[in-house]
Symmetry: C5
Subunit: 354 residues, 5 copies
């Protein structure tokens, strides 16, 4: 299965606009968690079915409904009915290959973007689709599986004192988006640190595995860019939107978030340029070392091959080789060897090969 674009075979033969999960199903049964709270109270529980969430629409407090698992068509459909979501939005939520996008519904704002994880051991980034729908009194989030980066936000909700601002669903949404974008930067920083660390090996120990690592990082940067870059457009689309339900006073925060995304994006490009430089430098270094190896060979061969020829001459068995009978023949041989060998040494030194 291609990693950079997902198979739509499942969607083939389906009517456009029908609900189909595009991508892999990552867990068995969906889990629905609810946090309902106001300044004083907090109810935290798992819901048996999405219908139980309907009450949140009319409750006084703020509800954060967090759904793990987006493969259950029936549940998604019913969720769509309860929260009056547009059918195409539901389709987008289920398409895990969906580009990050912002959608301004009648009574809600919807954001779809990627939640990233970096497995430092395998040096592999994995992406999970994250959908956030914010309505008048609720925030609805959907993830592909259990496990996320939102625990600090949850802790804050559980803490009566720190909860204050989070009671506004708009601010809660911002806090969640901010957590995701912060996580982008943390991943860029981790990759960046590793890439910068390659530099030293590039010059001191440039072995073969280095190319493989360079390639790895290049691929992961592409993957990262694929997830992060469209968030810039999402943001600018959102900030230009007239129909947003977002409270004016939080726009400033979102503009700040936008800057974070730009910063992540810039750093990705920067590291991408750097890793390309690494490959070029590596290649140049390989050529450099080949050159050095060649010099050693050439010096050895060019000195000893002629000498061996001379020795070969006097190893011949011709009956008449006058030199063989000279008293100082052998001495003469050595003198010739020293002159030829020394001459070649001087020649190579002049060429700066030694």
């Amino acid at each position: 299965m291609a990693r950079f674009i997902k198979d739509r075979i499942a969607a083939k033969g389906q009517m456009p606009g029908s609900l189909v999960l595009i991508g892999n199903q990552k867990m068995e049964n969906p889990v629905i968690r609810l946090m309902e709270f106001d300044a004083e109270n907090l109810v935290e529980k798992d819901l048996g079915s999405i219908e139980e969430a309907a009450v949140c629409l009319n409750s006084e407090g703020t509800s954060w409904i967090n759904i793990y698992g987006i493969h259950d068509l029936e549940m998604i459909r019913r969720m769509g009915e309860i929260f009056e979501l547009h059918p195409l939005l539901l389709e987008d939520i289920m398409n895990t290959d969906q580009l990050p996008k912002y959608d301004d519904g009648d009574d809600y704002d919807a954001f779809i973007l990627k939640m990233l994880k970096y497995d430092e051991e395998a040096r592999l980034i994995s992406a999970e689709q994250f959908s956030l729908i914010v309505g008048h009194r609720y925030v609805l989030t959907l993830q592909e599986q259990v496990g996320d980066v939102f625990n600090p936000v949850r802790e804050r909700i559980r803490n009566t004192k720190k909860r204050a601002r989070l009671i506004d669903p708009d601010y809660l949404s911002y806090a969640l988006l901010d957590t995701i974008v912060d996580n982008y930067i943390i991943i860029v920083e981790t990759l960046g640190r590793n890439i910068e660390a390659l530099e030293e090996r590039l010059f001191s120990r440039p072995d073969k595995t280095l190319v493989e690592e360079i390639y790895k990082y290049k691929t992961e940067l592409s993957y990262l860019r694929k997830s992060v870059r469209p968030v810039k457009e999402l943001m600018s689309h959102f900030l230009r939107s007239d129909h947003t339900m977002f409270d004016e006073k939080y726009l400033h925060y979102l503009r700040d978030l936008n800057e974070l995304v730009i910063q992540a994006s810039d750093a990705i490009e920067l590291y991408n340029g750097m890793i390309s430089d690494h490959l070029n430098i590596y290649h140049t270094n390989v050529s450099n070392r080949t050159n050095e190896v060649m010099k050693v060979l050439t010096i050895f061969a060019s000195i000893f091959i002629p000498l061996t020829f001379i020795a070969g001459i006097y190893g011949m068995n011709f009956e008449f080789i006058p030199e063989l009978k000279f008293k100082y023949g052998y001495l003469g041989f050595w003198i010739v060897v020293i002159i030829v060998g020394g001459g070649l040494l001087i020649y190579f030194r002049r060429k700066k090969w030694l």
Copy 2:
């Protein structure tokens, strides 16, 4: 014949605006298939001539007239008269090298784009021109030859229950376009999967055929891009158009289609970058291996060539070579061999060539 641009020799000396088939004729006689249907009835038949299609214009039901074969000038001309199409549109339909375009006629909307096929064996994408004209009660499609990707849509029409929305020609058009774009993504995904699979061979078994494959994929990606990229412009042109006959309520769907095209386009760029990286990495690896081969040669030659010279010395037939008469001369020779050979081994180890 060039694959990326088609010969216009046929058009040479013709008046501009005259009807000429640009490209190859792919079948003998055009085939015209009609599906006429409303909520209850479905008539499916082959028409003997394009004139029989004229009744569709005034029929109550929805008609999908599907023409295979676009080389019959006479038929195209008469079709133009019956459906009141602009002469330049007819010319575009017959020019199989036409860039994808959207045309808003007086009583119709016309889309020209490419239908792609990927022959996995030959690793070759082939493109066929697909023209779609949607009027008040009909959809007229033209293809170069029999055989297409629309069977799921046809099945749905044949199924009385699922037919509902397809009765609107606008929605039917959308369904057809969506099928084509979905097919783009499937092809990108297939290519992408193959390209990603090259990675493993790149590092473990980098043989010569790999370059050829890399080149192949690069060419196919160019071909794909040539067909897909202009669809983005087509879409934005269409979405900005004021004169479109399209029902407002379907624009949302077409905007979604637009996103699919962008996604395909982005993935093509991404894979294009990746395949270029592959070539670079391959080249670097070749240099790396040359370097290694050179080291082996240099080590062998640099050690044994001097030793052979020494052996050569004592193979000489000078009458007076004192060493030859030494009792331990031969032993001394071996000692020298071991010292020289061992010294060179240590030298090469120090250089980290061993």
Copy 3:
């Protein structure tokens, strides 16, 4: 003389705005041909001087005045007076290095672009300046020398039946421009076919001349681009112009022409990318082959150099070499040779060099 930009030495020291021929004079005396026609009549003749063309301004019929040779300052000046052309337009007409441009005069529209010729043998594109001025009842064209691509248009004018639309000078202009742009596409196609044909040689017979051909095509594509790309801007300038004299009903045709130019331009970029890939692939293949050559050398040398050393040992003339006297000494030598040689063969096979 530089091919990509022309010497302005001739213009040095001249007042700006003075008429000077920039580029080479390509023929002796200018030739002026007139075709004057209406629905029934056609007069075709060579004019002795430009003054004779003055009558065309007031004639009932349509006149196509075709001037070959633009080096005669006096003639150009008088032409300017007769047709009331702006002095800077005259200067542009005589500057064969002029970028393609559109100029909307008071009573005329002027187009300056390049007419290309491809000499298949020398694999060289040559460009000739083509200027077209269209007024109320005349079309005035200027070329650097006799010989062009317009014969099909002339034939059509001579044919009373096919002449109909060409009576309108606007349509005649369009037909001429269309012929030129069609010719661009034919050249792109020819180059493209040749470039695509290189692919096979790239993998089967990559000899040295291939680099030279690759370079040739790259240069010709640059030359082509230099002539074609600015036509896109010319077109968009023209289509945005408010002062154009062009009949509204032909704008549709010119928009179509614009698409042709874009298509040619896209194909040039595509082939440019492809030829760059060819060079990269070629380079990689050369490295690949060097690698292979090296392997052969290394295998031969690494096996036989040590063996030669062994043979050298027993070719020494030490008085005391015990092995020489062993009964099975020679047999033992062969056993050692087979073990060492075989061992190295196995080693190289393990390294996959064999």
Copy 4:
């Protein structure tokens, strides 16, 4: 720690919008210096706490409050209260990874940008966050540590005569920004001088360390670009802003400053292109030298290996080798050697390898 993007680990789990120092703390206790002056008087002193700065708000003279050290959350918070700064601005001030930005507050204009230092020895640029807030009668600047480039400005303030224009806080701000941007250009110039100096070594002494230097400069240029490029956007944002408090008459100066930034930016791109060329040239030169080394080896080996073979033949001990008994056998041997050797020499000369 990555140099190109900073770790946000510190911010993890914090509420967005809370004050956290991102980056390293560079000094122990913050130092607050005040220069309060009008045309006649100048008070210069270190403040014990930020509260003492509050009086500046209502003083008649101009105050420049310069704070070194931005890690003290409490101080930053109180400063925010005193000068009525937006909480997000405070957050930006403490985030040393903040992209350069301009912020138009209610009663102030704020600029955040980088102050650069170039350590010529380590060939390393270091960046420090510089924040400037200009209000009605004060200029507030924040730096990460003691030590800056503003001494010329301070000297001028101390000089009663030259002080004149600096009394206007707007002009003072401009002078500070101008000093920073001038410093950018000085660094670009230093790097540029070094890069241009590489050229000579590139052709005369291209040793291995050169690659390392090339890489160094490439990295530093990236670092420089990262700091300088966003200042262009800051400037254009500022110049387009409607809410700026800046006096109209200084806009001209700031437009001039903008040009300086563009110039620095252009020079960075130029040097970046040049350093890339250097790497390419270096690589080509390495290949060139390998080629030369190979030629020497090939000439030596190709001449002497066959000759050694010939000598080897007559060193064989076959009982019947007729040539050995020829009177002129040895002479003949030398004639063969000279013919073979000379022939090869001529061959190599013809190939232009000699």
Copy 5:
């Protein structure tokens, strides 16, 4: 001193906006030349001081005041007072690193651009700052040193007949700017001709100095681009300006000048692409030649090394080597040599190395 950006050390510690010469002083004392003329009269003289130029402001005729040498602060300041120039304009005039710019003053238009000179021998372009200020009845030009390209204009002024249009200061300015831009094109053409000439050497005599030349041209093109490209922006800024004093009727000429700049700029990009191709081709050719050298070595070594081994065998002194005693042993040896040698020759021919 860096060539591509100039040291601002001189400006360090100076107040922004103070007059400082940035760049080298190129001559001792400034020279001021005046040409004052109307249709009938012409006064040409050297002025002792800038104050003498003040009368030009109220004279009836047209004055061209040409100042050579811009390092005299006092003179520049007084000039600013006399002609009422903005202080920042004066600063720009003295900053020889100033980007080309257009400035619309209250009573004047100012242009700052580069005057280029190409030293064909050293293959070096040098740039000199040229400032042109055009007021109601005067044209004021400033150059860094004596010597320029304006002699044709001066000659024309001296010629009573040809002087006519130059009496208008706007037209005179245009003539001067046109001369400078024409000179750009002449330099591009000279460089271009040289670059195109490299092509032949690239394939027939690719020696080492070629890389150096390629690099030279690449650097000069960068230098050229640095001076020419901003003139495009200068022009578009000027053409969009509302406050220009330029007579409407000359805008057409300046638009033409703009086209010349675009043409020069396009040619620079084109030659830049071509010189990069040259480097790539050169590198590929070097690899090609290395490959060939390797083949020669491999063929020689692979044939003679095994043969030498065989000869070595029969040069051994084992007491018992049966072959040595065979009657046809020596003949057999030659047969083996021919079989082995011939076999290898056939092998290499099959591999197409011969």
